[in-house]
Each structure stands twice: as structure tokens, then as C-alpha cells.
């Protein structure tokens, strides 16, 4: 099957039905390994056992930004090529991205209280992630409340592309401004600053979260394709009833 064939929703559904069980099994296996390694990881010399929150917070933060990246590519597909599968991909990714951003904010807050002495501070990193969460809610509102689905999709795609400006702001906020949030520890000049005993569980959890995202995204895309089929069949039913 050529990649271009996947642009056909029926062929895409066939592929998703085949891939999804394997992807779900791999995700569960990686989470099992990652969680065991996370629980066995040593305490941090400064933060103690609270470093275990990092194994949830950091992957959720990465995914909150990656998901917006996926939605931005889908938004281009919607606006430039007007491809229905691109719109399906954007709409299916938004709730998943919003959930990961919510996890990032809550776990960060729960990690901040014992580490910084406060649940929340209006520094550039925390505020820009909160803005990302509000942008997710805005996109969801456009998808879910628009009377005309086509117009709602185009408006959501425009908001997604405008909101993409926030992603580099989140990434570099700790370098551009003085923040209570620490600077990057892994993807930074001079290599990572984390001991392998903590780094490996973190990387395994990050891959597990990434696979979870793709599993949920593909499953949500399948649901959205079916929902659109239901919608078109109901329109046909209504037209036939009127004729």
C-alpha cells in the first residue's frame, strides 16, 4: 500500500484496525517497564522522592507541544489542500493534546509546591503553558460548537496556526526570561545534565507517552471518520424522507 493510498478514509480505517491492537499492546508494555524503572530510580540529592513526578510531568509537557505540532501540520492540510483526513487528524488530536497539557500543569503544580514552596507562579514558562491549554480549549470550542462543521474546521485550523507561535515561546521561555522554572536539562547545549539512573526511566516513559498519544490519536481519528459517515447517512436519510 502506497502512502498516498492512506489519504482514502476507507483504506486508512483498514490500516488503523490492523495497527491499533499492536500499538496499544506496545504502549502498555512500555508503560509497565517505564513505571517499574521510575519507581526503582534513586531519589534526587536535592528534591528527594518528588523527582518521581518528573517521569509524568516532562513527557506530558513534551507531548503537549508535539501534539500542537501535529495539529499545525493537519491545519496546513485543511487550509491549503482542503483534505478531509487532515481535518479529521486535527480534530482528533485536540482533546488528547488538551488532556496532556492539563496533566503537565497539574503535575507541575504538585511538583512545584514541595520544590519551590508554591503551587503556581506567573513566570514565563508556566504562563505560556497555561496559554497553550487555553488555546486547546479554544480549538475544541470551535470544533464542537460551530453550526457548520466546515467553517468550524477552518476557523480551528487558523487558530492552530496562530497558536503555533506559542510553541517556541514555551521552549525558549526559560532562556529568554528569568523564570522560577528550571532551564532545559536534556535537550541543551553541552549535553544532558541528568544522571543515567534517572534519565533512562524518563526516556522510556517519554516513548511510552508518545506511543499512548499515537494510539489515542489513531483511535480518535477512526471514531471521527465513523461520526462523519453517520452524519452523511443521516443527511441522506432526511433527503429520502422528504422526497
Amino acid at each position: 500500500m502506497a502512502i498516498i493510498d492512506l489519504a482514502n478514509p476507507t483504506r486508512f480505517l483498514t490500516l488503523v484496525n490492523r495497527v491499533l491492537p499492536w500499538l496499544a499492546a506496545l504502549t502498555i508494555a512500555l508503560f509497565a517497564v517505564g513505571l517499574v524503572r521510575a519507581m526503582q530510580a534513586p531519589d534526587d540529592y536535592q528534591q528527594g522522592a518528588t523527582v518521581k513526578i518528573m517521569f509524568l510531568h516532562v513527557p506530558a509537557a513534551w507531548l503537549s507541544m508535539m501534539c500542537w505540532g501535529v495539529m499545525s501540520v493537519a491545519a496546513l492540510g485543511t487550509l491549503v489542500w482542503r483534505h478531509p483526513l487532515a481535518d479529521v487528524a486535527g480534530k482528533a488530536a485536540a482533546p488528547v493534546g488538551a488532556a496532556f497539557t492539563f496533566i503537565c500543569l497539574i503535575t507541575g503544580s504538585l511538583w512545584g509546591r514541595p520544590t519551590w514552596g508554591t503551587y503556581w507562579v506567573w513566570d514565563a514558562r508556566l504562563t505560556s503553558v497555561l496559554v497553550l491549554f487555553l488555546l486547546y480549549l479554544g480549538v475544541l470550542a470551535l470544533y464542537w460548537t460551530a453550526e457548520d462543521p466546515g467553517r468550524g474546521s477552518r476557523a480551528a485550523a487558523v487558530l492552530t496556526l496562530v497558536g503555533a507561535v506559542n510553541i517556541p515561546i514555551i521552549k525558549f521561555s526559560v532562556d529568554w526570561w528569568n523564570t522560577l522554572h528550571q532551564p532545559a536539562s536534556i535537550m541543551r547545549m553541552g549535553g544532558n545534565a541528568i544522571d543515567p539512573s534517572i534519565l533512562w526511566p524518563l526516556l522510556i516513559m517519554a516513548v511510552a507517552f508518545t506511543l499512548l498519544f499515537f494510539t489515542l490519536h489513531l483511535a480518535a481519528m477512526r471514531n471521527e471518520i465513523l461520526r462523519r459517515r453517520v452524519r452523511s447517512m443521516r443527511i441522506i436519510q432526511a433527503q429520502e424522507a422528504r422526497a
Binding site: 518521581k52 506530558a60 503535575t107 504538585l110 465513523l226
Partner: protein
């Protein structure tokens, strides 16, 4: 495993994450079965998509 004096924060972080992820999984699974059921009902009533009609012709 000793979670130290801040165990409540660690447990709460894991509990919130499990709750949200379980909610996402439940949403996807329930939505799938709901859409399949509605599609089945429509097909039983003889409603077919236009692309299927083209195939039949």
C-alpha cells in the same frame, strides 16, 4: 519504597495522570462502540452512503 515527607504530592500526581488517561481511553472506546452501533442501525434501516451506491451500480 519510601516516598518521603512529600508522598501526598507524588501520589496525587500519579492519581491525576491515571484518572485523565483512563478518561481518554474510556472516551475513545465508548465513542467507537457508539458510532458503530449508530452506523449498524442506519444500515439496518437501508440507509447507504453515496459511495456505496456508486459501487453497487
Amino acid at each position: 519504597m519510601n516516598l518521603g515527607p512529600h508522598a501526598d504530592f507524588i501520589v496525587a500526581a500519579y492519581a491525576v495522570t491515571i484518572f485523565v488517561v483512563a478518561g481518554l481511553v474510556a472516551w475513545v472506546v465508548l465513542d467507537y462502540s457508539a458510532q458503530r452501533r449508530i452506523l449498524g442501525d442506519l444500515e439496518e434501516r437501508g440507509v447507504t452512503r453515496r459511495s456505496h451506491r456508486k459501487d453497487e451500480q
